[in-house]
Amino acid sequence: MRVVVQEQPFDIGAETTTFAAGHKEMGAIVTFTGIVRDLPDDPLQAMEIEHYPGMTEAALTEIAQTAIDRWALGDALVIHRYGRLVPGEMIMMVATASKHRKDAFEAAEYLMDYLKSRAPFWKREITDAGESWVSSKAEDEDALTRW
């Protein structure tokens, strides 16, 4: 398992290639990448992501370990950025490796659901109209109940 919390961009191609290598017994690799999305009505200048150093790494490691145990994954990768990002930039990625695709897809969804509301990150949107903290959504909390 690898958990990375960093300010700088990451190379999804290189990360995926490295992750996939060395898992000959795993037939499925699933990756998900989150991108800073522009806002149609109020153009986004930047998104600032704050986090809780120390707890962030611990929380991500615990979430990833739970996924590995539950779906018998061969490996899991979580990369999450913080700091100031502009629309189109990659915020985060997860990758899962399993023998068959169903487990890899499910585990990736599990990682994403838990990353949304159980990893200590807070997003702030800066637009022409002003700045505001992104509110958590009830649907993100509800998403955890299916696991």
Partner: protein, 81 residues
């Protein structure tokens, strides 16, 4: 103990962290003490349903005990991913 604030909680209180001398038995007791300090604390802690708490970097509840605890953090619901 160290008390940390993140996101709009940090903005309302005006500092990211501080040392607090307290004999509060639980997180809720600590919150009650902080609220009595100044208006900015009262504002930050006025609606506990809008807040989450971590004790020694683990998510927990407001009734969590504080014995032997080194670090308490208050923040809004997380928005990762």
């Amino acid at each position: 103990m160290d008390v940390l604030y993140f996101a709009w909680v940090r903005e309302r209180i005006g500092i990211p962290r501080e040392k607090v001398e307290t004999s509060a038995a639980t997180v809720a007791d600590l919150v009650a003490e902080l609220r009595l300090r100044e208006e900015r604390y009262e504002l930050a802690f006025s609606d506990l349903t809008a807040l989450r708490v971590a004790v020694d970097q683990k998510l927990t509840d407001f009734d969590a005990p504080l014995g032997g605890v080194r670090e308490v953090a208050f923040f809004p619901p997380m928005t990762g991913g």
